[in-house]
């Protein structure tokens, strides 16, 4: 158990060090065998992970990677959770009827709202999944896919807004999301600009990708 955990920590340390410090990652890996023989693999591995993090903070691309992790964990994943909550809420209204903006006495409107409920549920689920995927590709630094998932989120949000307006549904969940989406978009743009600056400065790690 300790050996497997230590190897996992060493592997993480190697990944955190990045390509321009890969030789150091290999050096640590080779010494890990000596530490394991000495019966102290976990302490050594944790130290290497700390060393890798310290190096990450010192380098531009490392700081960008940390910022992207913070963005993914602090904003994108909570938004995905919020959207899954909305989807769960919608699934509860499937039988009982959706809360509408107006009194909703018109039977045709009620019928339309209830008919649209599965589509709305799928759209909220799609938004949640797209946010999870966006978080993943952002930390991977896969910018073409970041753009694709960003476009998907934009399209799903617009479709959801249109459905909400046409079906006269309660818009408050979408209004609450609008501000968060604006913050998310600004953060993504800032991260993309930072990435392009590092690329323009010829960061070896980013050029190697």
């Amino acid at each position: 158990m300790t050996a497997a955990l230590s190897r996992a920590v060493m592997s993480l340390a190697g990944r955190c060090l990045g390509t321009d410090r890969q030789e150091w990652a290999l050096a640590m890996q080779a010494e890990f065998e000596a530490a394991a023989e000495d019966g102290k693999p976990l302490a050594f591995a944790i130290g290497c992970l700390i060393a890798a993090w310290r190096e990450m903070v010192k380098q531009g691309e490392g700081r960008l990677a940390l910022a992207n992790y913070a963005l993914a964990l602090g904003l994108l994943i909570p938004m995905a959770v919020q959207q899954f909550e909305q989807a769960v809420g919608f699934s509860m209204f499937l039988g009982a009827g959706i809360p509408a903006r107006s009194a909703g006495q018109n039977p045709y409107l009620i019928w339309s709202q209830n008919s649209a409920a599965p589509v709305l549920l799928v759209l909220w689920l799609l938004l949640g999944i797209a946010h999870l995927c966006l978080a993943w590709v952002l930390v991977e630094g896969d910018w073409p896919r970041v753009v694709k998932f960003g476009a998907l989120i934009g399209a799903a949000t617009i479709t959801l807004s249109l459905f909400t307006g046409v079906l006269m549904l309660d818009p408050s969940p979408l209004i609450a999301q609008a501000g968060e989406l604006a913050i998310e978009l600004s953060a993504l743009l800032a991260s993309a600009r930072w990435h392009s600056q590092l690329l323009a400065n010829g960061s070896p790690e980013l050029l190697a990708r």
């Binding site: 410090r21 030789e23 150091w24 290999l26 050096a27 080779a30 010494e31 000596a34 944790i46 060393a51």
Partner: protein
């Protein structure tokens, strides 16, 4: 490349250990045991000192078959000169050093 800042206690300990047998190549884990520094302190120091040209590193063939090659370190001429001008280290416990 600037070495204007006063070297840290950990760096002084490492310099002293490396300069004691300046011509000899030393492995990271052996240096950890000798200096009392943890890997989280030793490796950033070695990286920085290598970047500054104080330490040189090279891959050495393993002493036993089936083992991976190991990175070994020793002071460069600049490192030896720097170690001579560095102030002597005061005895500090290894725990204090590693945590500092």
């Amino acid at each position: 490349m600037s070495r204007n800042r006063r070297p840290s206690k950990q760096m002084l300990i490492l310099l002293e250990t490396l300069s004691a047998r300046a011509q000899q190549w030393r492995h990271g884990y052996d240096l950890m045991k000798e200096t009392g520094l943890l890997s989280g302190t030793l490796y950033p120091l070695l990286m920085r000192m290598t970047d500054q040209g104080l330490v040189e590193a090279e891959w050495r063939e393993p002493e036993q078959l089936g083992r991976p090659a190991r990175h070994a370190y020793r002071l460069t001429a600049a490192g030896i000169a720097f170690a001579r001008t560095a102030p002597p280290t005061s005895p500090v416990s290894s725990t204090k050093l590693a945590l500092a």
